[in-house]
């Protein structure tokens, strides 16, 4: 092999090595789990609810999602195996009872990508809620995947 050809081969192999090491996986563009995001609205615009406590009924250790916090939105993780779950929204205000929201859904095993991994997507099939401080609830996206966007709009009275 001529000297020039050898040089070309070496350069090409070096470039190849560089390419291989630089082709690492990027980060997951969305969330690593599919969790519905609920946003609060009042009079048609986004609103912050103060002193709000949110938890799921039956969650181990009565763990809280929000603990007397101010929030304009809240992630509501879904129970995979049961197909439904209930949440309590406690406003911690005298004379105002807590609201309960029940979501029904199908869990769908889903491989999003190498970067995000395998997860469950959910398709919401039904919703029930009380009307103590809630006026109405709209499901804007029935398919819950790892996109970081709101799927539930909770309109307050």
């Amino acid at each position: 092999m001529k000297k020039k050809t050898k040089q070309v081969v070496l350069i090409a192999l070096s470039a190849l090595a560089g390419l291989a090491t630089s082709c690492n996986n990027g980060n997951c563009p969305g969330n690593s789990n599919a969790i519905p995001l609920a946003e609060f609205y009042q009079d048609g615009s986004s609103v912050i609810i103060n002193n709000l406590t949110v938890y799921g009924i039956g969650a181990p250790g009565d763990s809280l999602i929000l603990d007397e916090a101010s929030a304009s939105s809240v992630y509501m993780p879904l129970h995979i195996s049961t197909g439904n779950c209930c949440y309590v929204l406690d406003y911690n205000t005298e004379g105002l009872e807590a609201d309960t929201i029940k979501l029904e859904y199908d869990a769908i095993p889903y491989f999003e990508s190498h970067e995000c991994g395998a997860m469950f997507n959910f398709r919401i099939t039904g919703i029930e809620y009380t009307l103590n401080a809630i006026d109405s609830i709209a499901i804007t996206r029935t398919l819950i995947n790892n996109d970081d966007v709101a799927s539930i709009k909770i309109y307050m009275q």
Binding site: A12, A15, C23, A59, H79, H114, A118, F120
Partner: protein, 296 residues
């Protein structure tokens, strides 16, 4: 007396009219002829007989134009329509796997070199993937699946020997394949569902993509050559399922990638070898080029 005055006035008027009329007519120009213009051009030695006839007939301008055209034709070696057939083996993924790549494609290609310029290409290959990342919650298995690429190259070094080629190319790729996602472990910590697991097996998919590439091919020994290709590729379409999207596409690489690199070894079979420009024609070609440049 009076009559003679009238004659004089009439003569003056007539003279003025004649002068005016002459001034309106375009003046005839006379260009002197140089003696050298009339010299008969003689054709150089070795000129084609047809051109010589044209010289002899007096149409030296046409003959000169034909001569320049012929000398241009002599500058570029003309390869036959079917110049050679190249058979290639792409082994770049074998090298990349040594650097930790979790998938591989191997293909063979057939390249028909026409006029040492245009090269239709057919590529067939097989690809597979297997990845169990430590930091991920799944094992991805792409079953060994076929792919096909069709396209063409344009060799920019068509004036040189086919042993050395710098080319640009386009490809259209197609693959049908199956993949599995196994050993999935999903941790739903809020509801206490630790390590909820499932498997997704034999998900069918297909993909169609296009490639733009730039390549270099260098003869190394006898009929053997090495080739390097840098490719920009883009997926036109692929089949998603209710349970996910493929990560690896045979012949394409990972779904989100835009660039790829290839190394191939080629064995070339010359076709119509007797019609190739002879190696000793090179000097003639160079001489013709020098003559052509001198006449410009």
């Amino acid at each position: 007396m009076m009559r003679s005055k009238i004659y004089m006035v009439m003569c003056i008027v007539a003279a003025v009219l004649i002068n005016t009329a002459q001034a309106q007519e375009p003046q005839r120009k006379v260009t002197p002829v140089k003696p050298s213009t009339n010299k008969v051009l003689t054709p150089p030695k070795g000129t084609d007989e047809k051109v010589i006839e044209q010289y002899l007939s007096g149409d030296s301008t046409q003959a000169r134009a034909q001569e320049i055209k012929d000398s241009l034709a002599r500058i570029y070696p003309h390869y036959p329509t079917l110049t050679e057939l190249g058979l290639g083996l792409n082994f770049s993924d074998a090298l990349l796997m040594a650097f930790g790549q979790k998938y591989s494609s191997f293909d063979i290609s057939a390249t028909l070199n026409m006029w040492n310029r245009l090269q239709p290409v057919l590529v067939v290959g097989l690809g597979r993937a297997k990845d169990t990342s430590d930091d991920m919650n799944f094992t991805y298995t792409g079953r060994l699946s076929p792919y096909l690429k069709l396209g063409a190259n344009y060799n920019f070094l068509f004036k040189k020997e086919p042993r050395y080629q710098l080319y640009a190319g386009v490809r259209l790729g197609l693959s049908t394949f199956k993949y599995s996602i196994t050993d999935v472990s999903v941790n739903n910590s809020y509801w206490g569902e630790g390590n909820y697991s499932y498997d997704l097996r034999n998900i069918g998919s297909h993909a169609l993509w296009g490639e733009l590439l730039l390549g270099l091919k260098v003869g190394i020994a006898g009929n053997w050559s090495l080739g390097w290709e840098a490719k920009f590729h883009n997926l036109f379409s692929y089949k998603k399922s209710d349970n996910g999207k493929p990560w690896y596409i045979p012949g394409f690489g990972t779904r989100g990638s835009k660039w790829a690199f290839g190394i191939s070894a080629y064995y070339t079979i010359p076709l119509s070898r007797d019609r190739w420009p002879a190696v000793d024609d090179k000097n003639k070609i160079k001489k013709a080029a020098r003559q052509h440049n001198a006449t410009q």
